[in-house]
Symmetry: C2
Subunit: 196 residues, 2 copies
DNA sequence: ACATAATATCTATCAGTGCTAGATAATCTG
DNA sequence: CAGATTATCTAGCACTGATAGATATTATGT
């Protein structure tokens, strides 16, 4: 029953291959979504992209939705990192503006990614044991902006997130003219930088 | 070639029937969406509901999306009316809070309707000649809240709308606990009632 | 009143979707 | 090297939105 070293190396290689293929699927889904919309991200299309037959995808993901979820989680990780970077880079006093700009820049530059991050409603709840750490990490960047132990600072963080999300979403769905985005951010920062 | 009065009455009755059927379709779509989600609003299901064959729906709407659009437009009309009512009912000084509460109440009580109103992105653009008046009417309620001729008040209106939309959306997708909604609204109103 | 034109509606079908069962090929294990 | 396990494929199901062509119903001109 003792697994030989050779067998170990083989098993490892297989695992690597599997993970690589998983990454390929996610990356293809993301690329197609960004170029042609999520409705064109079909299981058949994805299996074509990775040159495997259709059922192979179900060895990596439970369902089509599972693929979208994986893309979304990747998106939350990237968004969190972008915000963290913006916070660290900012000069004293305008961290809020810096993070706001980074958030909206992320949403604008990857609209399909942003879309899937917030349309996977029921499958990935937030305040739950099953909430992906990537999602928590992203939200923690907001909490850092409004330090304080009270539940009040948490409410402010949520509100700031909501405002940014609203701007991003109304821009993405063509309700807002992109031209006035700077004015919007300025007005937003004005209202959140002050102590009330 | 002169159409007789009888023929006129018949034509009118036919028109009435057609409009009634159109209303039936929209109402069925809305009901099913609210109870079972938009993915269960299929053309076949709708044709069942009105006891006609499937292709009949295409005499009323160009496509399935056209049905969703019609539901969304109806939603904007109702949202605008709800906000107008809240504004008129409010005591002097807390119109902003009153409208905010009405907005979130609308979104919470008809989540599927709210969803379709903001997910029909490209098919109904905002700042366009083809923007439905119902959509303009709803947004005009925000403009009334922040009177002033300058473009600044328009930016504030947009920002307020965005904040409410963000709250509504993050609540709908289970990112926010509904229990703290009152605190959020209070913090939001604080930030928008003041003059900066 | 009746043949003809126009309208309303249906049945049947298309191509495409997510997903799965069952068969086959490739690989590992004792 | 035989037997078990794993990887992969082909073929199919039930469903979707949408449309073509046939059929029934209604209106119109003489």
């Amino acid at each position: 029953m003792a697994t030989t070293p050779a067998a170990n190396r083989i098993a490892e290689r297989k695992l690597r291959d599997k993970q690589a293929r998983r990454a390929q699927i996610i990356s293809a889904a993301r690329r197609i979504a960004e170029l042609e919309g999520w409705s064109n991200v079909t299981v058949r299309r994805l299996s074509d992209e990775i040159s495997y037959s259709q059922p192979v995808l179900y060895a990596h993901f439970e369902s089509r939705q599972g693929i979208l979820d994986a893309v979304a989680v990747e998106g939350f990780q990237e968004l969190g990192l972008a915000m963290e970077k913006a916070r660290n880079r900012a000069k004293r006093g305008n961290t809020i503006e810096s993070v706001a700009a980074a958030y909206l820049e992320f949403a604008a530059s990857s609209p399909a990614l942003y879309e899937v991050m917030f349309s996977l409603s029921l499958s990935v709840p937030f305040d739950d044991a099953a909430t992906p750490p990537e999602l928590r990490f992203a939200f923690s960047q907001f909490l850092e902006l409004f330090p304080g132990q009270s539940s009040k600072s948490e409410v402010i963080s949520e509100l700031f997130w909501a405002s940014l999300h609203g701007i991003a979403e109304l821009t993405r769905t063509k309700r807002f003219k992109p031209s006035r985005q700077k004015e919007r951010v300025r007005a937003l920062v004005e209202r959140f930088a002050i102590k009330i």
